[in-house]
């Protein structure tokens, strides 16, 4: 186990996050994406462009998810960081991967119907935070006071 010092994972994470944002930004459809309601059938060229972009979205999604997963497992497998740091990194990488999958596989963005979905997801996130956060605070407090 010739793992480099604990600063590497941090650096890696930082580069990873930066790369990720760039990549995600690229995979976002251009603002002038398809007009609201097509009157004529889309041209062949348009379809081909759509097709390429969609394929790219899936491809980038898979690639990023794979990379993030590998990074998380490698971090733990080769013990690149102390447990508390490693744990935080693993959770961080997991969170980023969730975002990637939502964007690339579940097609959530800021337009049209997906916007409603996004608001729904954000509200759900709020509730999850309240419930999970509250539960953890209350139960750890109880545990601390009773044990």
């Amino acid at each position: 186990m010739s793992g480099p010092g604990p600063s590497l994972p941090r650096r890696l994470a930082r580069y990873g996050a930066a790369a990720l944002w760039v990549a995600t930004a690229f995979s976002v459809r251009p603002a002038a994406a398809p007009p609201a309601r097509r009157t004529a059938r889309p041209s062949k060229a348009e379809i081909a462009a759509d097709r390429r972009r969609d394929l790219l979205t899936y491809g980038i999604g898979y690639g990023l998810a794979l990379a993030l997963t590998l990074l998380a497992f490698a971090l733990v497998y080769w013990r690149w960081a102390e447990p508390p740091v490693a744990l935080a990194l693993v959770f961080g990488l997991g969170l980023v991967q969730v975002l990637v999958q939502f964007r690339c596989f579940l097609h959530i963005d800021f337009k049209g119907q997906a916007r409603d979905d996004l608001l729904l997801i954000l509200f759900s996130t709020l509730i999850v935070l309240l419930m999970v956060g509250g539960t953890l605070v209350v139960l750890f407090n109880l545990r601390a006071r009773m044990m």
Partner: protein, 695 residues
Amino acid sequence: MTGSEIWTTLLGRFEWSDLPFVRAWEKGTLSEAIGAGAGGVVVVGAVLLVALLTYKRWWKPLWSDWLTSLDHKKIGIMYIVLAFVMLSRALIEAVLMRTQQAVAIGAPGLVGPNHFAQLFSTHGSIMVFFMAMPFLTGLINYVVPLQIGARDVAFPLLNSISLMLTAGGAGLMMVSLAIGEFSTGGWSGYPPYTEAAYQPGVGPDYWIWAITLSSIGSTLVGMNIAVTIFKKRCPGLKLMRMPLFCWTSLCTSILMIFAMPPLTVATLMLALDRYLGYHFFTNDLGGNMMIYIDLFWLFGHPEVYILILPAFGVYSEVISAFSSKELYGYVSLVIATMAIAVLSFTVWLHHFFTMGQSADINAVFGIATMTIGIPTGVKVYDWIWTMFRGEVRLTPPMLFSLAFIVTFVLGGFTGILLAMPPVDFVVHNTVFLVAHFHNMLIPGLLYGMIAGYQYWFPKAFGFRLNERWGTVSFVCWVSGFYLAFMPLYVLGLAGLARRTQEILEPDFRPWLLVALLGAFLLLAGLATLFVQLYVSVRQRDQHRVPVGDPWGARSLEWSVAAPPPEYNFATIPHVGRRDPWHWRKANGGAYKPADHYRDIAMPRNSMVGPVVGLSGAVCAFGLVWHIWWMAAFGLAVLWAAVIARSFVRRTKRVIGAREVEATDRAWLATAAAQQVHPRELETTSANAGLAELHA
């Protein structure tokens, strides 16, 4: 296989002594006799029902007009029927409990401790899950699509499935009277007491599966209503133009979507503990009952807002209609509703202030709790201002609304008291708490449901309910409430613990007698509601309101015939402002034929709902009694039905434009032939549903 093995395979852990009749015969105590009587009522009632349906040849209409119908209006009505049936049972149980406490002062009384514990457990569980939830779901189901100008809910089949799952759970509650026994763990089912170590019998299992069925049904219905409101509003009906009842329904359904899962998780974990020896909430091997308490109230507190918000919506509609004024402070009411919905996720800990967390945490949750009083206060002012200088008519729905305002504020004050942890330490687990939550739920839920039932009844059935009996019933409900529950505040402060079967303090007697009297009045309140229904049906020809707008109200449901056609609207309305129906009446746009009519596609009936509900209940019954083949069979049928349904392609039926037009024109002709009735004659046979317009 030996005989006993065959018995266990076929019948699980059932034994003859599980039948209350056998128990009563063997033991011969009064308590057992009462239990057997209740079981007998269920059995005889079921037999009589079957006989009646057969004799009147009602099976077919029951099946094809009601049970398999996907019409949101019929589903709503069935929900409300279910609610009334269960209300009757739970109210009788409440009277029995009050009687017990009034007579068991230094004496054993009527029912033994175990039986008493079953009574408060079934009463609480039924009132919350099988009376309140179906009632409000029924009202929402009936009214919301009409108010938003839609022809149905977003997912009609899912609607039927939700109803039938809830009904299946209710059926399980009824069966528990006749076979076996119920949990003694209260409506909240706290472990470790409900664990197998302390209650190895079927009681808690009945509770778990009945609640699970109902909570799944409620989650599904919440999704359905929320999506309906988001996606099925008619053109122009922006969110901020919706009637307030739609807003409260929306918030309630959002709460259902997010607050039912904690309950499902908690009950299923309890089931894992009981069935597979898990250690979530046990006393040993790392189990922690506080996890259950936490999960349960993550559900439990939002639940009380699930219960109360629809009633708030009803009051908003009723007060505005019977004051002939637009709702005062619409925007503030909407914001207050949303604030309550979100805040309700931040206060659950006030249900267990005394269970060991640090004082700081208690303080945070205490303060959060008190803040909920603010939006609620805003609402009360809005309702009062709506009445101010309005043309107020004291019809029964309005009377219930007024009683609500006064009584609910009182209950709110005691809630603020309880939100202070030091006070809560003193009175928690006493009947002070019982008084408090009945003081919230009876005005804040039950009165609202009754008001809504009386308000929309003419819309649903085409004739008004008799107002005189309505008023009698109102008097009983309100006086009964005060007599039954005010003494409990006193007794609670004096230290009477809740869930007490025998009372050792003779000084409590006068208060308990008053409370008993109140309970009887409440029972009379329910009885007079049934009398009212009977009388009104008999006199229906004098009370018809075919034109459909008996109260001169303002929202879209009053713009169609009473009862409305299956498809609700001959043409989908377009809305330009709040209170669109009022605006149309005022601007000569009401009662006009459409430019042209189109074909309308409505969902065909489906038997999937009843099959899913029944097989769910059968599965649950098998689980309760450890009859594994039955559980597996029920589950298999359930999924088979759902999968088979996904292969059905002809799910819609077309109603031709001609027919739509004919129906619409016939209704318009009726409207043209009727006299406009002035407000004063609203409660007389002059009211044909064509109301006089006031500014």
